[in-house]
């Protein structure tokens, strides 16, 4: 059957509303995060949910899938009222949510995770062979060549996300909700995911899709619902909307300038130089200079060794060779403490795993990296509170309740807090790894301007990003890595996507080394 024919067959199915939320309100303690939100999910349709960080998207979909209970409002399944007391009830009705945060048991294998709680049995025993075959089939469908016997903790984040998706597919969803599935995926993986989403849509599955990437919404969604500050703003067909329109609906104002202005020739003396740095099996002979007041981008495909190089510079990874100079003088950096003393700070891309203490509130998180500033013998709580006050102001952190755990924060607010935490050490050089993963467009712009401010004040920034517009919009120069080597440093007119790709794939520039894991 052709695509068109499938569409036609499902035309009657299509109009059918499967799951709807009516006038949903939700409060956490005294903070209300959803106000009278209604939404309809129709069979055979991809419905996108848009909104700034903290707008309440995740909260809404958790209510739709039984993870949270609404404070008021109702759910309708096929026009009949239902109550999802927990996620199991929702799943038994075919409502499956892929969470924004990965929800895998790290110690278990891929196949064990996929069938967790739904193990296939033969008699009293687990039928491991069948489960392995099934798992393999699901992964093949996603063109993901991960061995089902691998433990989750040994997988990259993007592979983990693919496992999450495989798990959801195995549950035979009728209503599939994906909360920012692509935040950690590579371009190719996104394409594969979209193929699967289209396949399910054509089978009549109702799909709700959350993403901050407006291109994706344009590409995959039929209708879009926009939330702002917990309120329903609009629901309309995607066809009539441009990206700018969506951004305006989300933020409630025009985003005039996404990136800060960059005055040419503002870079000053050399602040940091790295010479012939190597990390066994990951980085080979990397050398570069970073000037005062400049943003030096680092581009490259996943596994090119960018994060390894940065972690080696700040002493989190062992160097097998190489020297580092600050302002022309050699320095020894053996651990993060040394790096901090040299005025170098590192913003991790894994804000939940290595950035923030999710079970604590903002204050201890903010001051953890710069603790000695708040007292060497006794911590000065007043000073901490004052610093928190200032950080909330400077970074526009919006937390409903200052005492709530940062694990409950929206991604954007976590990212701003992480930025604030790193800036507490008052660094001269900031290494930022993926600053806007899972961040809404308004906050992105805020973070970009913040980076611009830093360089205007004479600080230097190293930027690692997989988002090309970000790389091009922020960087003065772009170093490209491939297979552990810096294959070129692009300046001026060479700073374009084409050149970056040529260097990243090793067509241009120095030959890379073969990298063994």
């Amino acid at each position: 059957m052709t695509d068109a024919a499938v569409h036609a067959v499902n035309a009657d199915l299509r109009a059918q509303t499967r799951l709807s939320g009516r006038q949903i309100c939700k409060s956490f303690g005294s903070a209300q995060v959803l106000f009278d939100v209604s939404i309809d999910l129709k069979a055979g349709e991809v419905h996108a949910l848009l909104g700034e960080n903290g707008a309440g998207k995740s909260t809404l979909v958790k209510i739709l899938s039984g993870y949270h209970q609404p404070t008021s409002g109702a759910l309708l399944l096929d026009d009949a009222p239902v109550e999802f007391h927990d996620s199991e009830v929702a799943e038994s009705h075919g409502v499956i949510l892929i969470h924004q945060e990965l929800n895998l048991a790290e110690q278990l294998t891929v196949e064990e995770n996929i069938f967790l709680g739904r193990e296939i049995k033969r008699g009293w025993f687990l039928d491991k062979t069948t489960m392995r075959l099934e798992a393999k089939k699901l992964l093949d469908q996603l063109q993901c060549d991960v061995d089902p016997r691998t433990r989750i903790r040994d997988l990259s984040v993007s592979d983990r996300q693919m496992v999450e998706i495989a798990k959801a597919l195995s549950k035979k969803a009728e209503i599939l909700i994906l909360d920012e599935p692509t935040a950690v995926l590579t371009g190719r993986e996104v394409d594969i995911l979209f193929d699967q989403i289209k396949r399910l849509r054509d089978q009549g599955v109702a799909i709700l899709y959350i993403s901050h990437k407006l291109d994706e919404i344009k590409a995959i969604a039929d209708r879009v619902t926009v939330l702002r500050d917990g309120r329903h703003i609009t629901t309309e067909p995607v066809a009539g909307l441009e990206k700018d329109d969506m951004a305006r609906l989300m933020v409630g104002r025009d985003i005039k300038q996404m990136f800060p202005d960059r005055a040419p020739g503002h870079a000053g003396d050399i602040a940091l130089s790295v010479r012939n740095l190597s990390v066994d099996g990951q980085v080979r002979d990397a050398s570069f200079d970073l000037r005062r007041g400049e943003v030096l981008g680092f581009a490259g495909i996943v596994g090119a060794g960018r994060t390894a190089l940065m972690e080696a510079i700040i002493g989190l990874r062992e160097r097998s060779a190489g020297t580092i100079e600050r302002n022309g003088a050699p320095v020894t950096i053996k651990d993060l403490q040394d790096a901090k003393n040299c005025g170098i700070a590192y913003l991790t891309k894994d804000r939940k795993g290595s950035g923030l203490l999710l079970n604590m509130d903002m204050r201890p998180n903010l001051t953890l990296l710069a603790l000695e500033k708040f007292g060497r013998v006794i911590i000065d709580r007043k000073a901490e509170e004052a610093a928190l006050e200032a950080a909330i102001e400077a970074f526009d952190i919006r937390a409903a309740d200052r005492k709530s755990k940062v694990g409950d924060f929206s991604g954007g607010n976590q990212q701003k807090l992480l930025l604030a935490k790193v800036m507490e050490t008052d660094p001269e050089i900031v290494i930022i790894d993926e600053p806007t993963r899972g961040i809404d467009i308004g906050t992105k712009s805020q973070i970009y301007h913040f980076i611009g401010d830093l360089t205007n004040r004479g600080k230097s920034v190293i930027l690692l990003s997989s988002e090309m517009p970000e790389m091009l919009g922020l960087s003065d120069r772009i170093a490209v890595m491939a297979a552990g080597r810096i294959t070129g440093i692009l300046e001026g007119n060479d700073r374009n996507e084409h050149e970056i790709m040529r260097h990243a794939t090793g067509i241009s520039g120095k030959q890379g080394v073969s990298v063994h894991e």
């Binding site: 290595s354 079970n359 708040f374």
Partner: protein, 337 residues
Amino acid sequence: MNSLERTEASSSSRFQIDFKALGPFLALVALFVLGAAINDAFLSGGNLANIFTRAAFIGIIAVGATFVITAGGIDLSVGSMAAFISGAMIVVMNTLVATLGAGIETVLIGVLLSVVLGVAAGAVNGLVSTKGKIEAFIVTLGTMGIYRSLVTYMADGGTLSLDFEMRGVYRPVYYGDVLGIPVPVIVFFAVAVAGYVLLNMTPFGRKCFAIGSNEQVARYSAIHVDRVKTLTYVIQGLCVSLATIIYVPRLGSASSSTGVLWELEAIAAVIIGGTMLKGGYGRIWGTVVGAIMLTTIGNILNLTDAISNYLNGAVQGLIIIVAVFLQRGDWRRKKSK
């Protein structure tokens, strides 16, 4: 803490927090009411002094355990460590009586030895588990066996007894009092206050919380994780040594059965007090209350015929399980709200 902010917090969550913090205290009050109802002698000054003096041993050790557990570790060796240290103290002091005589100097040397051994034993636990990257459970299970067999070896399978004359000199450390308050209680209180300040008000304590919550985040926050963790074991060793210094004059002897199951009582006191066994959250005052509770249960059983004294362990075990259950119930409510 900022009082204004407290009032701003939602009333429902404030109630929960208060309840959680007060839980162990309320349970202790209930136990005291029960004790008083069962036997008039319970509230007599002598009996109360007895309870607090006995609670001091476990309590001092448990304060150390609070650090270890808050930072995500565990120390099973404390009971054996106490036995080993008391054995070593007795042997050395008995030997010194011949040359130095039974005087204060001999006691001081014994005390010094105890501190050195406690710190060293703690450092061994800490360094082996951090540098050797072996789980603390396994390391301290190993040292638990080692310390215990060392004392058995020193005593040649029997009992080491402190020189009779020495006992007279050393006695006030346990039986003495200042303004009517028994010395062990004063030491206990001092250790608790110091522990509270260290855990809640200093960078070191903050780092313990951070490591127990997420080691990776702690590492990325420029915290020397291994160093801090090792220090928690050293603090634990120091606390064991202090408890032993008080303990030796009471019994005047050490054998292979000294300090058996103290590790469990210490961990129980910590858990009853609301510290999370998986780390990341610790409460010294809770631990203090937990230790007093455990001793009070034994004391009440002594004063009544309703339950055999031999069932002391069973009742304690029950209380521990109930305490943890109540705590978990609390987490549950929080999650599903």
